[in-house]
């Protein structure tokens, strides 16, 4: 197993750099906290959505922008298997709401000192081993349903990616505006309650 344990040094260093910056950002963003993640699902704290939507919009402008400029940027698209993607998402959501972390934020939360996140990550490793056992059955019966291959919205519709990116940007700006309004109203309500 361990004859070829390590990748080349440069690859490991690149991954290590990325992980350090990513972990730093997740902690500074507050998403290494159980309360913030569960607060998002209770629609009380919108930090998670703000971070994710901004990352997606900024990321897509850069990646598609570089490609439009003729730079060679390779995509890493995950295959669309409608049933698997949907069912996986539904199961994932249950786990994320009970754990209070997703895989990346659970690992980062360990760095911040969360103890119960350690139990969560151990469970993830066990879960991965379990999935490897049932994979042949899942591949045949679930991943074969609605298998569209590695498609994106531009490749599926034939429209320019920039239509979708513009739409995403508008959706993001509109939702940030609405979230901020709701937060302001809630803040005022709390102040009024304090006074009363």
């Amino acid at each position: 197993m361990f004859d070829s344990f390590f990748a080349d040094f440069q690859t490991i260093l690149a991954g290590a750099f990325t992980g350090f910056v990513f972990g730093f950002l997740l902690q500074k963003g507050g998403v290494t906290r159980f309360n913030v993640i569960v607060g998002q699902f209770l629609l009380k704290d919108f930090t998670v959505l703000k971070i994710m939507m901004t990352a997606i919009v900024v990321g897509s402008v850069g990646i598609y922008g570089m490609r439009s400029l003729g730079l060679e940027v390779v995509f890493h698209i995950k295959a669309t298997a409608l049933l698997g993607n949907a069912l996986g998402g539904l199961i994932f959501g249950v786990g994320m709401a009970t754990l209070g972390y997703c895989p990346g934020t659970a690992v980062a939360a360990i760095g911040e000192g969360s103890r119960h996140a350690i139990a969560g990550v151990l469970g993830m490793i066990v879960g991965a081993g379990f999935y490897a056992e049932v994979y042949p059955w899942i591949k045949e019966n679930i991943l074969s349903v609605g298998d569209l291959g590695k498609v994106t919205f531009p490749s599926l519709t034939g429209l320019s990616a920039w239509w979708f990116i513009t739409a995403l940007l508008l959706i993001a700006l509109l939702s940030f505006y609405l979230i901020n309004r709701i937060e302001k109203i809630k803040h005022l309500e709390e102040k009024i309650f304090e006074i009363i």
Binding site: F22, K28, F34, N35, G59, L82, G84, V94, G113, A128
Partner: protein, 184 residues
């Protein structure tokens, strides 16, 4: 500059933009996309493999990521290094702002299910199993699917993201209900 790094929290918009720019770097210079959950597969495979190597090498799923006997792939590769350094990055950030915690039972949980550490650890462990099962079934987690896939406008990722959000909201409301709201 330094005071800014010592701040406990940054604006979520700046953090999101930072993750977006980090994605540009990984795509352009490393030919990689941010992701985490495949590392759990490699970890499980490496642990099982240190006892039963032949089995892991012949398992269809493990060999996708760890290779076969004739063509083994490294365990500690780009994403594995990323996941290890997530711990260090978050630790360093919390250290700078002195916001480390030793959370064993989160407040909202305590309010609803009591202060038992054992109970919380058991549920965390079981949730970990559930979450990775979902991630592998869908093909990725919040980073690999949600952010990396979302920004590439992948159909699979947006389906995953919407379903995860929907089921997360329903689960949280079933678990903590309105009572939990006041404790966030």
């Amino acid at each position: 500059m330094i005071p800014y790094f010592k701040k406990a929290r940054w604006s979520p918009y700046w953090v999101g933009a930072g993750i977006g720019v980090l994605s540009w770097i990984t795509f352009a210079f490393m030919n990689k996309a941010l992701g985490v959950s495949t590392t759990m597969v490699r970890s499980a495979g490496a642990i099982e493999g240190s006892f039963f190597e032949a089995y892991v090498r012949s398992n269809t799923y493990f060999s996708k990521y760890l290779g076969t006997v004739t063509e083994p792939k490294p365990v500690l590769e780009w994403q594995f290094a990323l996941v290890i350094m997530l711990v260090v990055g978050a630790w360093f950030s919390a250290k700078l702002s002195a916001t480390q915690i030793q959370e064993t039972v989160p407040d909202i949980w305590k309010q609803r299910f009591g202060p038992s550490k054992g109970k919380r650890y058991l549920v965390s462990f079981l949730s970990g199993i559930v979450i990775i099962f979902g991630a592998r079934l869908a093909g990725g987690c919040t980073s690999g699917h949600g952010i990396s896939g979302g920004l590439q406008l992948a159909v699979s990722s947006w389906i995953f993201f919407l379903c995860l959000f929907l089921s997360g909201v329903v689960t949280a409301w079933v678990l903590y209900g309105k009572g939990g709201k006041g404790h966030v």
